[in-house]
Symmetry: C2
Subunit: 321 residues, 2 copies
């Protein structure tokens, strides 16, 4: 759909034109760098799509959309420090290219810039937008903390994992869509449907990420297949596998954590996952959350034309990398 591409472009342009001061250079240079790394801009696009269902103009929706995207980038900047990630979208992370202190502080500034964008929305919408935005920001931090806590835990349940990804990544998509509804003047029920679409889509999207990391189209991903396995990351797949594994398989999974040969590690893990039917189980879970999103979408369709959003959901659902 042309409209989605156009919105993404408009957002990219807006981000490029954000007027950041020259000084202190060590504060703003990293931000210019980071914002120029690009990305799918899914969240702000979803705000614009949601708002447009209620005839809000792109002009009216952009501040809220940009606030969401700046907030998202702020969390990435700080997460990269915490995860000690050397790369982001194939380029050096800020803490790597500059240093940790600069990454902390430029992240903080970015967070304030998000609030500054939000402040450009109509005053009558501000309390509601801020309330949702603040609540979501706190949940995202809670999700990140849970994720860090999981790293040092032996056993994590599927419910805990879902709750973690719901907070860390999915509520932001829910917030992005509901904010479109707020700016567009949607009623309470419609805003709730939008939030539920975004949140469930977010959970589905994250499980899909976990699946694609191991079973995706490697060429198109542009990264090595099985990155999560190699890094011993807890994913929907690895957690489910440990729950279903028998003693022997569990021992093997433990042993695999120490493997140095990446290819062997990924292949052996895949073999165990295959024996346990993990890919199918994960796909079912993912489909379940897509279905929840679609159910809310159909409910919303009773009071407004949701074609654009239905198309957007379809695009996300059918990605293969």
């Amino acid at each position: 759909m042309l409209e989605i591409a156009q919105s993404a472009e408009r957002i990219e342009k807006y981000l490029k034109e954000i007027n950041l001061p020259q000084e202190p250079a060590n504060l703003y240079e990293p931000l210019r760098y980071f914002l120029a790394l690009g990305g799918k801009r899914l969240r702000p696009v979803s705000t614009i799509l949601s708002g447009s269902l209620f005839n809000a103009t792109e002009e009216e929706l952009l501040p809220a959309a940009i606030a969401i995207e700046l907030f998202h980038n702020f969390t990435l900047l700080h997460d990269d420090i915490m995860d000690e990630a050397p790369l982001r979208r194939g380029k050096e992370t800020v803490h790597q290219k500059w240093n940790t202190n600069i990454a902390i502080l430029s992240g903080d500034v970015l967070f304030v810039r998000a609030y500054q964008e939000l402040l450009k929305c109509k005053p009558k919408h501000l309390p509601e937008l801020l309330q949702l935005f603040n609540k979501t920001a706190i949940e995202v931090c809670e999700g990140q903390q849970m994720d860090m806590d999981f790293e040092t835990r032996d056993i994590v349940s599927i419910e805990e994992y879902i709750e973690m990804i719901r907070l860390k990544t999915s509520v932001l998509l829910g917030c992005a869509m509901a904010m479109g509804g707020i700016v567009g003047g949607a009623d309470e029920e419609q805003k709730q449907f939008l939030y539920d679409i975004g949140m469930n889509l977010g959970i589905a999207f994250q499980i899909q990420d976990d699946i694609l990391d191991l079973y995706g189209n490697a060429e198109k991903v542009g990264k090595q297949v099985g990155g999560d396995v190699m890094a011993n990351k807890k994913t929907f797949l690895s957690i489910y596998a440990r729950i279903l594994a028998n003693e022997q398989q569990l021992a093997k999974l433990d042993e695999l954590q120490e493997y140095y040969n990446a290819l062997a590690k990924v292949e052996t893990t895949k073999q165990i996952f295959s024996d346990l039917g993990i890919e199918k189980l994960a796909s079912e879970a993912m489909s379940n959350y897509f279905l929840k999103a679609e159910t809310s979408l159909e409910n919303l369709s009773k009071t407004c034309n949701v074609n654009k959003l239905r198309y957007f959901v379809g695009v996300l659902k059918n990605r293969t990398y």
Copy 2:
């Protein structure tokens, strides 16, 4: 003045009763710990004092006051990481007691909590409060970046130093007072006077800090005299000394940076500062900023009764530790 002590106590009580969730414990335990470390609570007290000049009630003023205090604590939490400070008010810093990741993330959450408090103010004041708050938050980050940049620079001018402390610490006191005015319904001119009182007071207060670190009442300070000198910190005094020093004195100041004997280091530095008349020059600069604050105070007194605020300024001016 009883009122100041009562406001400080009320703020302390409010902070104690802030309802932080139990989980994730690694996110909220550090915040409970940090907020309980105490402090003078000067900023929120100044919001309440300023607002009360316009007959705003403590009830109406508390959310803005608390937002300022939470924001201040957020900056301390992140600054402690950047400064690698082991202690804050004699207790372990968060990154020391837990770890850096937890300090980053609990700081981020605290920042959102500040916005959540602000949101409790009347909606009609929100846009103005947020605009000032955001602008100030960005300036504080810029000041912190300047401070970090100064560490690796040989030469810093007095003007640059003043600009750094203005941004890093003083604008927040200006913001705190002006926010009291906003909530109280002060007019534009009155709000500007309040901001100027706070900002100039803040600069004077910081120069005073620099002076007291070396010339203050050691017993009452409860810390070693000359901590800044020992840490080779750039202060108003050390920067001024380098500007006025002759070649020989400059060489000695350079040499002193490497001294291991703390007592000798402080005493020799004091001797050079004394030869250059640094204490007097710094006191004059400080008095100059107190005077600016008092001038704005007298201007404000033409349209309202500023007795409480005058008393507050007097207390700050006459501290000896």
